[in-house]
Subunit: 260 residues, 3 copies
């Protein structure tokens, strides 16, 4: 089917998997095995990471089999950062490492969105786990009362990348109304511009569950911006946005003489 | 997989099925047989009641087979109260009883959310059907023009429980913007507090389709509050809220020395 | 299961398929083959057209097999109008016709929602493709900056029907917040009344993704109004609205003596 798209001019090129930019990260918050199979049958080529959201993994029956379905299809499943924090606040960091070892999850997220602990400690965990596999780390609080300045966003991201994170994630939650976005889901331009100016854009995964956020980020940073917290049934619509196959980005990749 | 959760401290205990409190009631508004199978494979342990919403059951092909899938998985399916009202306003109460008998549905909902009939009549239906099986009854109108005082909510619930309802349901509709909630989905605290003060909390099922409503009710009444009108794909996320495995209830069940 | 409904009085009659009015058009934005099978198993009788939304079709694996699933179940799949515009702006109209020929899609949508080209040209395409199969054409822009007067809506619809469109579609997008609706999803009554007064109602398909829009249109134009952009899992709920089996239309089809 790719051939139909390949025959069209002015379609942005997307790198083949395994990609290091243009990543799509999906949030699975409890799919069944059959639903996971359905998902990879359609979206396998377009999806890089699958986050088993917050603590859902450990209460979803057969989640070990689901991890295998994703891995066999060439996707990288991992536990949402909240699960790391759930273990950490209970003083069970080693048990958390035991869990990811047991289920052979080579991608791990370190975050402090719920549990506010020392940032230097976060850097240590990143550094420690980076020796084990790929680490991604999330910046931004899940609480409306905790607001970071643009400089603070930049500083934390830079330090975490230096400590060993392969990518940093900009927090937005499942709803997309916090962190890099305002209460109404609109983009906090000041924060995003500060990040984009000071951190390599390929190293940032922007959580962007809402279409208007995806459109804004694609227009700003191009087809191959890294986007996360995409609902499973929005991966194909998102891919059309990346490729200029939807009204919102219809003109984005066309030459000037065709623009209106 | 339960063992992972079982090894964590500070996770609230959830009663095993069949439960009399901590119930989760899901709204099925037209799942296919395979989708129903998928649903029970993941959420069977966490779901108690499945409402076949409003009149959807009788136009969904093979709904009799779907009822069997739910029953065999230990869930209790039933017809939404609107179906009872659809028969009642047509003077076909006996035919409604014939329907639930034919499909061997042992749980029945009595409501007056659309059809405004005498409350003493509602009590009679409850009393009559309570001899046949389990009755749950819903209080609250689906119309914005009909507003009950907190006292009226309490009075109706008390009378219906006395008449034979095993639980009373507090109306919110599929959207969660009426009854015990305000237009914007926020909680009507005055009504909920009045109910909680005067009706045994284990006897109330709060319709709560929106996450913020679920969070508020869990924080107010604990992990084992009865919640209803949960969309099928939100049962696992809800269970993480009940267990403190999500940002919104991350600290809720932790000892004081770990709270921030 | 139909027999349960058939035994109830005051249920509006719905024409059997293939229908020329009372159409339901669904938007598929990337269902898997198994999800498409599930969909037709439940909604096949209630759905007439399936739009493969915007450019999703050509990036969805096995979309040719999905087209066959829909056709074998008696539904008419077609490519969203945006795909026509994607080819047209690239000067590839012939290739677009080649595509619909290759996949044996006998229903085709002509639109100018993203690409603003001469209306007389649109009429030519309609006329040309009407010789090949069934044409439906969409009126209304996807851009908030392009606003048509009620007269303009009527004029374009009349001309397109004359040119060979079997139905005209009133634009609302997937979100339902543009075209015939206001920003908040409420109905633009002036436009809809102008259309209804001047165009045969059976020839109009109203995009109506939001329940309040469906309810308004059913109350205004009856159970057999043509409705489009219905999400797959909302077809059964919509059918209950059409039949008076849900709170919102509970009284709509009852005789006056039963109304409250």
């Amino acid at each position: 089917m790719k051939t139909v798209v390949n025959n069209l001019p002015y379609i942005p090129e997307r790198p083949a998997k395994p990609r290091i930019k243009g990543l799509t990260m999906v949030m699975d918050k409890g799919l069944s095995l059959r639903e996971a199979e359905d998902f990879v049958s359609v979206c396998g080529d377009y999806t890089d990471y699958v986050k088993l959201g917050f603590g859902t993994a450990i209460i979803t029956p057969d989640f070990d089999k689901k991890i295998r379905i994703y891995k066999e299809a060439g996707l990288r499943p991992y536990f949402g950062g909240t699960l790391f924090e759930i273990f950490l606040i209970r003083g069970m960091f080693d048990e958390f490492v035991g869990l990811i070892d047991k289920y052979e999850v080579d991608l791990v997220e370190i975050s402090d969105g719920s549990y506010d602990f020392d940032h230097s400690k976060k850097l240590e965990y990143i550094s420690l786990l980076a020796k084990r596999g790929t680490v991604i780390s999330e910046v931004g609080s899940k609480k409306k009362t905790v607001v970071y300045s643009p400089d603070e966003w930049v500083r934390q991201m830079q330090l975490e990348l230096e400590a060993g994170s392969s990518k940093v994630i900009a927090e937005a939650r499942e709803a997309g109304t916090i962190g890099i976005y305002n209460d109404d889901g609109s983009v906090n331009i000041e924060i995003i511009k500060a990040i984009a100016t000071n951190v390599s854009i390929d190293n940032v995964i922007w959580e962007a569950p809402i279409k208007s956020q995806q459109v804004w980020l694609i227009k700003q940073f191009g087809a191959n911006v890294n986007l996360g917290n995409i609902p499973p049934n929005e991966v194909i619509p998102l891919e059309t946005l990346r490729l200029g196959l939807r009204g919102d980005t219809f003109f984005q990749f066309l030459p000037d003489n065709l623009k209106q």
